[in-house]
């Protein structure tokens, strides 16, 4: 049974793929709050990636509040995902503030900024773009 579907063909570094896929699975409800995640070693062995990479991903996920590691007992999906969500919200807010700053420098008004947003959304829908996805 595959735990994660990682690939060298993916442009993102391995630890990033792990982070993103676990995030996706949790958001999709595959793993519920409080549910145990595979141990670092188990995930490393079944995905064929180094332990250090999985460790890095788990550490990042823990910092982001998506998972919680109990000392000596492995990791579980965080009970309160809203904390993680809050972090995602913060990141989005920061990006939007940046975008507004750029737009102001370019002299775009609100309507033009909305148009630019639509253009990017259309582009994103038609081609799969690699997410920068570094969890804060």
């Amino acid at each position: 049974m595959n735990v994660l579907l990682l690939s060298a063909s993916d442009a993102r570094p391995m630890y990033q793929q792990i982070i993103d896929q676990i995030t996706t699975r949790v958001m999709a409800g595959d793993w519920l709050p409080g549910q145990a995640l595979p141990s670092i070693r188990e995930l490393a062995a079944s995905s064929g990636v180094s332990v250090i990479t999985v460790k890095r991903a788990y550490e990042d996920l823990e910092r982001a509040g998506l998972i919680a590691t109990r000392h000596g007992k492995g990791s579980v999906v965080a009970e309160r995902l809203d904390q993680a969500r809050g972090l995602f919200e913060d990141a989005l807010t920061r990006s939007l503030v940046d975008a507004i700053a750029h737009a102001t420098r370019l002299g775009l008004d609100r309507g033009q900024l909305h148009q630019r947003l639509d253009v990017e959304l259309d582009a994103a829908e038609s081609t799969p773009t690699p997410t920068q996805g570094n969890l804060p």
């Binding site: 070693r41 180094s50 250090i52």
Partner: protein, 294 residues
């Protein structure tokens, strides 16, 4: 916790080559990838670690045993497979298994059988009839089925077709489950090292240029594309490993990435277009060509 191996100030001299002052440690449960060009000393280092060769200077401790004096005890826990190792062509894999099984009580028949299925090896066929890839897999099977505490592998995937390589990597990944087992493998296939290794050791000209954990090693390197005119002093920055320019397109490969580097590049009049991490293969070739420390 005993280190899988600890080597200090290791020197070994041959008529046309010398391994000099190599100090390296692998903690238990970790995987180390040994990278280097042909003739850099990877095989020599591996031979010293398996107790097949004795050092001219320095100390080697493998699984807590001092080599070469305690080589018998050390070899009981070591699984060694190298590119120049061959099995008896007139005999079958079953014959080899029967031999090895009598020597190592930890031999796991079930695991051997499952590896034979995964590797698709015919147990009764004389080894002489095997293809190169099958031979390599057979050697690995003889190592893996004993579950040795330390695997020392010299070029385990070199010369294998992509399917065989994937099979071998999967079998190696199984070792990761056991936190008491460690692996050192040398490989030209930097992708394998990049994927499976926790640590990277970089040998060149008989010296250890670098040994770091893989994630921070890879994190240190970036390839930056910029626009502008090439500042003459850029190549002299200690962080810069290589600079190439084509008209106003400039490519800089940096070996010691800091977050303030884009600003510093901008201060030189360059417009940073993109910053990308580098694949280990690229890092390897760049570092060798740049010379000096990686």
């Amino acid at each position: 916790m005993t280190a899988a191996f600890a080597v200090s100030g290791l020197c070994k001299r041959y008529p046309h080559f010398a391994l000099q002052d190599v100090s390296l440690t692998l903690a238990e449960g970790e995987v180390m990838g040994l990278v280097g060009v042909n003739g850099a000393g990877k095989t020599t280092l591996l031979r010293l670690l398996t107790g097949l060769a004795a050092p001219d200077a320095g100390s080697i401790d493998v699984l807590g045993h001092r080599l070469p004096q305690a080589q018998v005890a050390a070899k009981r826990g070591i699984g060694f497979a190298s590119e120049d190792m061959r099995l008896y062509r007139s005999q079958s894999l079953d014959w080899h298994i029967a031999l090895v099984r009598q020597i190592y009580p930890e031999w796991d028949d079930n695991y051997a059988a499952s590896l034979m299925r995964r590797f698709d090896l015919r147990a009764q066929q004389p080894i002489g009839g095997y293809s190169h890839g099958q031979r390599v897999k057979a050697l690995l099977l003889l190592c893996l089925a004993r579950r040795p505490r330390l695997l020392l592998l010299d070029e385990p995937t070199t010369g294998l077709d992509p399917v065989a390589r994937a099979e071998v990597l999967e079998a190696l990944a199984d070792v990761l489950r056991d936190e008491r087992r460690s692996v050192l493998f040398s490989s030209h296939n930097t992708h394998d090292v990049e994927q499976l290794a926790d640590h990277i050791a970089f040998l060149h000209g008989g010296r250890l240029l670098a040994h770091r954990d893989k994630e921070s090693f890879l994190d240190d390197w970036r390839r930056v594309l910029c626009l502008g005119s090439l500042p003459p002093t850029l190549a002299n920055w200690p962080e810069v490993a290589q600079v190439r320019s084509a008209g106003s397109q400039i490519e800089v490969k940096l070996r010691a990435w800091r977050d303030d580097l884009p600003e510093r590049l901008a201060a030189q009049g360059l417009t940073v277009q993109r910053v990308d991490p580098m694949a280990l293969e690229d890092i390897f070739v760049t570092a060798v060509r740049a010379g000096g420390a990686a």
